[in-house]
């Protein structure tokens, strides 16, 4: 499946309190309500300017800080189709995959704000149409691909009841 959208650029070390502030995420489980507040401490107009299917493109250590899963969930509900980053913090990475929001590790240094991107999720192939760039994302461990293919961890566990994957190298 190929998805297309615009890149919204952020820098390094975007922590989960920036993605969705503690002062909002503690009050409600309504992710659509939280979606309106994503990234607001970094860019108060971010949600307004977002179009469904856009991507976040960040530097290293995206999603560092708090383990709160409201971060990828609020992004997903805001219409973000996926996040590309130089690297991800580990709890955020697991949470993102668990919720079916693609997290793609690649060299994002040449992708600029507003660039049109085309992403083949299965192949992990990224095309920056605006710049004419082809990028590849690092492959996910099989266990994460299995979870993602079911749509997320809830769907996976509902279907299988238990993680029963063969041991393999990441």
């Amino acid at each position: 499946m190929v998805i297309k959208g615009k890149a919204h650029r952020f820098g390094d070390d975007i922590n989960t309190d920036y993605i969705i502030s503690g002062r909002h995420k503690f009050k409600t489980l309504d992710m659509d309500e939280l979606a309106c507040h994503v990234m607001e401490d970094l860019d108060p107009r971010f949600y307004e300017c977002l179009e469904k299917g856009d991507f976040i493109v960040a530097g290293k250590n995206f999603g560092c800080g708090s383990s709160r899963e409201q971060a990828p969930l609020a992004l997903k509900h805001a219409g973000i189709a996926g996040v590309l980053a130089g690297s991800f913090a580990r709890i955020y990475f697991r949470n993102s995959i668990n919720n079916g929001l693609p997290a793609l590790v690649c060299d994002t240094s040449d992708i600029a704000e507003g660039d049109e991107l085309e992403i083949d999720l299965e192949a992990g192939a990224i095309r920056d149409v605006t710049k004419g760039l082809e990028l590849n994302s690092s492959p996910l461990p099989k266990v994460m691909l299995d979870i993602l293919s079911e749509g997320g961890m809830v769907e996976y566990m509902k279907k299988h009841g238990r993680l029963t994957l063969k041991r393999e190298s990441a």
């Binding site: 503690g22 002062r23 401490d41 250590n61 913090a89």
Partner: protein
């Protein structure tokens, strides 16, 4: 080939011969979630369609981040937790029991050699008692509750050796901040830290917990230490469970070897707005402060309160400064009361709050005003962390926070030595 502590614990809990880089499914000894993460974990659990918690005796829910509840909507989320705990026979630690991580230790839900997950990033704190303890999100917690197990990627390990004798007036928080400043926010991403050396052995358990608490601020999965007599002393009388501390093999393979010497360490400050923005206190001395926080999973234990009270005794908090003190747990609060520490804080002009996360997370109990500087013993200073993106948070040891609240500006606590 020898194994690291992580490889050993993940091997014994998965029945596999686990090596760094491999994926295993391991049985969990304990699982915890707090009021910021449990409601979502419960929703995910219910979505998974099975109605039984696999090992209810291995699950604790804690109401600490928003305790006592500041809003009706928060109370409704707390209600979800209470009902779920009651239905499934789970332990519920309600308002006033304290910060989840301190309660987990006080109640010995984590012991040396155990494998523990918590739906809170600072679960790494228990690495200081030789547990493979790591933070996860709500849905991983739900999967753990449903099946009693979870998948893990066995981490590579960075060996960290801390040497030298800590000077007076300099504390474990200063060691922790120095390490974060040196290793940086993503310097240990996906890795296990094994932290040891004479400077660590010299620390009390309270002091060691502070260092492991900050492991996640370097991106690490776990912040492990070996167990020694001080560790065993902590668990004496707390649990009848048998446990087996785990040591790394002498020929274990490490991805990196780092050394820090604390002989000339000065008190450290993490400046806004990142935890690795660390400088010696001298560089920011004189910065005016409006609010001080002593507490949290990082520095809310008895040793921390004693250090702060030692400086505040007989002194007064400067006019225009609010000092908030929140003991990390009911147990710590009782000890502090019996030792007269609560009186010291109150006499000095501080405000003592109910055990819990207090102002750290920005939901209540001490949100700073616009343009204000806060000096805090917590572990995060991101913009907006304490509830106001127009405020500035400086992280420090309890001694530095105490000294700074007396002077109304960031101050070197060594002036208060002896």
């Amino acid at each position: 080939m020898g194994k690291t502590i992580s490889e050993k614990i993940l091997s014994s809990h998965s029945g596999a011969d686990a090596n760094a880089g491999e994926i295993v499914i391991a049985e969990l000894d304990y699982m915890m979630a707090q009021d910021g993460t449990a409601p979502l974990a419960i929703r995910s659990f219910e979505g998974m369609g099975h109605d039984e918690v696999a090992r209810p005796e291995r699950v604790a829910l804690c109401i600490d981040h928003n305790a006592p509840s500041p809003l009706r909507s928060v109370s409704q989320l707390h209600d979800i937790m209470r009902r779920f705990a009651s239905e499934h026979g789970l332990e519920l630690n309600d308002v006033g029991e304290g910060v989840c991580h301190q309660v987990m230790l006080d109640k010995a839900h984590v012991v040396p050699g155990s494998l523990v997950i918590g739906a809170d990033s600072h679960t790494c704190t228990y690495g200081a008692v030789n547990a493979f303890a790591t933070g996860v999100g709500s849905t991983d917690m739900a999967a753990g509750m449903m099946s009693g197990s979870l998948w893990f990627r066995v981490p590579e390990t960075a060996k960290v050796t801390v040497t030298g004798k800590l000077p007076e007036g300099v504390w474990s928080k200063d060691i922790a901040l120095m390490m974060v400043g040196g290793i940086t926010a993503d310097g240990a991403t996906y890795m296990a830290l094994e932290i040891g050396g004479p400077a660590i052995s010299d620390l009390s358990l309270d002091g060691r917990l502070t260092i492991s608490n900050l492991a996640v601020e370097m991106g690490a999965k776990v912040g492990l230490m070996e167990a020694d007599e001080k560790t065993l002393e902590f668990f004496k009388g707390r649990t009848k469970a048998e446990f087996q501390p785990v040591r790394a093999d002498s020929d274990a393979v490490y991805a990196s070897d780092l050394e820090f010497d604390v002989t000339s360490l000065e008190p450290q400050i993490a400046k806004p707005h990142t935890v690795d923005n660390v400088v010696p206190v001298g560089e920011v001395e004189g910065t005016p402060v409006a609010e001080g926080l002593i507490g949290t999973c990082t520095n809310g234990r008895l040793e921390d309160l004693r250090a702060a009270a030692g400086i505040l005794k007989g002194e007064k908090v400067a006019p225009g400064v609010r000092l908030i003190v929140a003991p990390a747990s009911r147990e710590v609060m009782l000890m502090a009361l019996r030792e007269g520490l609560i009186e010291v804080f109150t006499e000095a002009g501080g405000s003592v709050l109910c055990p819990g996360c207090a102002s750290c997370v920005g939901t209540h109990q001490g949100v700073p005003g616009d343009g204000e500087n806060v000096i805090s013993t917590a572990n995060r200073n991101f913009k907006g962390r304490m509830g106001n993106p127009e405020a500035f948070i400086y992280l420090a040891s309890p001694a530095t926070v105490a000294a700074s609240c007396i002077e109304g500006k960031i101050a070197d606590p060594r002036r208060y030595n002896g």
